[in-house]
């Protein structure tokens, strides 16, 4: 029997008992549908994160901090207090108010700078202005996006922050426009806003800044971005009047390394820093841990889908065993007419694969339809604050893989009945009443 005839016959056979085939197809459909949706969510979220990450152009930056004391593990209890270790709780140097973390001192910065592979190091400065105001239309609270100078913003209008510029620049999120009194993103560009900030002595001062751009809000950084000159100016005001020594320690520092470094070289730099007592993370590391969480969730959903598919596999076994039973005469007749066992085997496994294909193709198709619809509704509704987020996205390659895997499962499920069919004795068929 020619292969094309085997395929045609197998397809025709699967349609012979429509109800039975239909029920098996539904079981596979459910599994394939779930798998396609979860993989679609995976693709959607990952691609969103990827665009966010690619917005963070700083692939050559390490965020360095003092490593948490290795002795303060859960089993050993807290480490003994050591007054010689610098701690930092004050504002203006990158620490969160109220937390006590090991601070980086000027000495530490020199040590980091001397580490092989590190090109230069800058202490991270975090400023906390009180308010922002445009044209006397009211003061509003302002949140500063600490990573703004490291990232390439997803612009709605205007230009990126320029750290080498001498002017004080601010990048506003789209969500600020209405409250501040701008008609549109375009209208805000080039306008001057006032930023209020309190110095160490408690006196409030005002600084002017030019709106250089308006950005779509991202999941990684919420708030307004400030360029380096503006940050420096605000920091200077914040530490005005501070006692000596209170300002020369920092929670974190950003270190640059050669952008051409290989992952192995980056690991070597991080290991080297770790040996000296510094913890360091690239931007990719930070994003990576976020992605790991999402991957775990998707993995769990996928596991459920695979369980559904395995159950469907037993459905295939059952369906085909019944077919083999029902077609005893026919199989026997074909064998009496010189059809070899291998072809009979192929005939039944092709039928299994076809049922698998039918279920998975329909399931994937339905998933794409439903997923796209829901995704569009969510993008306009719940997720409208996150422009560009399509929660469910479908990659043709992953759909092809899903269909392929389901067909493989179907083939494996079909081997048992197909073997039973191939081993049929023609005589049994001829004696079958």
């Amino acid at each position: 029997m020619k292969f094309i005839d085997i395929v045609k016959t197998a397809i025709a056979n699967s349609f012979r008992s429509k109800l039975r085939t239909g029920l098996t197809v539904i079981a596979i459909f459910i599994g394939a549908f779930t798998l396609t949706i979860t993989s679609g969510i995976g693709t959607g979220v990952t691609s969103y994160i990827d665009t966010q990450v690619s917005a963070i152009g700083a692939a050559d930056v390490l965020t360095v901090s003092k490593a948490a004391d290795s002795t303060s593990s859960t089993t050993d209890g807290p480490a003994a207090y050591d007054p010689s270790k610098a701690t930092t709780v004050s504002l203006g140097n990158g620490s969160r108010p109220g937390t006590t973390i090991q601070a980086l001192t000027a000495k530490d910065l020199t040590k980091i700078a001397k580490t092989t592979g590190i090109l230069n190091v800058d202490p991270s400065v975090r400023v906390t202005p009180d308010y922002i105001e445009y044209d006397g239309k009211g003061k509003f609270e302002i949140i500063v996006n600490a990573t703004a100078t490291l990232t390439t913003a997803d612009l709605a209008a205007g230009a990126q922050l320029d750290n080498s510029s001498t002017t004080d620049q601010i990048l506003l999120p789209t969500t600020y426009l209405k409250n501040l009194g701008f008609a549109s993103a375009k209208a805000a560009i080039g306008q001057t806003v006032s930023i209020g900030i309190t110095d160490y002595a408690g006196v409030q001062q005002e600084v002017k800044a030019t709106v250089i751009g308006v950005q779509n809000e991202t999941i990684l950084g919420v708030g307004a971005g400030l360029n380096q000159p503006l940050t420096d100016r605000l920091h200077t005001i914040e530490v005005t009047g501070a006692p000596a020594g209170a300002t020369d320690s920092y929670a974190t520092a950003t270190a640059n390394f050669d952008i051409k470094s290989t992952p192995a070289e980056i690991t070597a730099i991080k290991d080297d820093l770790a040996k000296q007592g510094f913890a360091s993370q690239t931007v990719a590391d930070t994003i990576g841990s976020f992605q790991t969480v999402i991957n775990v969730i998707i993995g769990v959903l996928n596991a459920f889908a695979v369980i559904a598919l395995i159950a469907a596999g037993f459905g295939i076994i059952n369906t085909l065993l019944m077919s083999v039973q029902e077609r005893t005469r026919e199989i026997g007749l074909m064998k009496a007419m010189g059809m070899n066992g291998g072809r009979v085997y192929t005939l039944f496994s092709t039928e299994a694969v076809f049922i698998g294909f039918l279920g998975s193709a329909l399931g994937a198709l339905a998933a794409v339809g439903v997923g796209s619809l829901v995704s569009n509704i969510l993008a306009d509704g719940v997720f409208s604050a996150l422009p560009g987020l399509q929660v469910v996205q479908f990659a043709p390659s992953s759909i092809a893989i899903i269909i392929g895997v389901v067909m493989l499962i179907a083939f494996l499920a079909g081997t048992l009945p197909a073997r039973a069919a191939a081993r049929q004795n023609p005589i049994d068929a001829l004696r079958y009443e």
Binding site: A336, I427, L430
Partner: protein, 244 residues
Amino acid sequence: MSVPVLSAQNIGKSYGSGANRFDALKGVSVDIRAGESVAIVGKSGSGKSTLMHLLALLDDPDSGTLLVEGTDAKKLKGKEVNRLRNQDFGFVFQQFFLTANATVLDNVVLPLKIAGVPPRERKARGMAALEQLELADKARNTAINLSGGQKQRAVIARALVNNPKVIFADEPTGNLDTATGAVVEDILFALNKDKGITLIIVTHDIELAARCDRQIFIRDGLEDTTESGTPNKRHPGAHAGAHA
């Protein structure tokens, strides 16, 4: 004399094992020559079908030797056995074994499909075989809608479609009324006479057996030599009387 198409030498076959063991065939020797028509006659359960299945290479004998054109069947490869079943043998059974919801033509061309003949040629040869049996107008009907006689003619068309050397027929008229049975018999004997196809008919019908060149009587798994191979085949009355 030429080599027999099929030659069984003292073949035996038993079913089951241990206490359930049943010797269906206890050592039968038969030579089938090209172009002859042979009847295997005997009561129900005597082992006729078992013998036919062994001759048709559908089953392996437990003892004795089966020669196919002088070659020991045991030495034939699976592929060769399949080729013989597909190309050289045609089968007609009491139960028709037609796929009920497939068309008559599809049923008839099944052996060609198995042989890997391309669709166009399959159709042409299938239609030719149906024409020969005056069933061409039913080619597109589903098999289930045919009458008994039409079904058996479709089965004969299927047996013929590969131009076999031997047709095995197991009780070919068993499910048909006398008149229809007679028509089917005529068709089979015409094929034997006009095309030289060797005919092996299993039957318990003495009259049908008498129309064959030669009869092999089987009783309880053994050949009943007192009745077999009578040269007086033109006088069927004698045998009919003996078994009446």
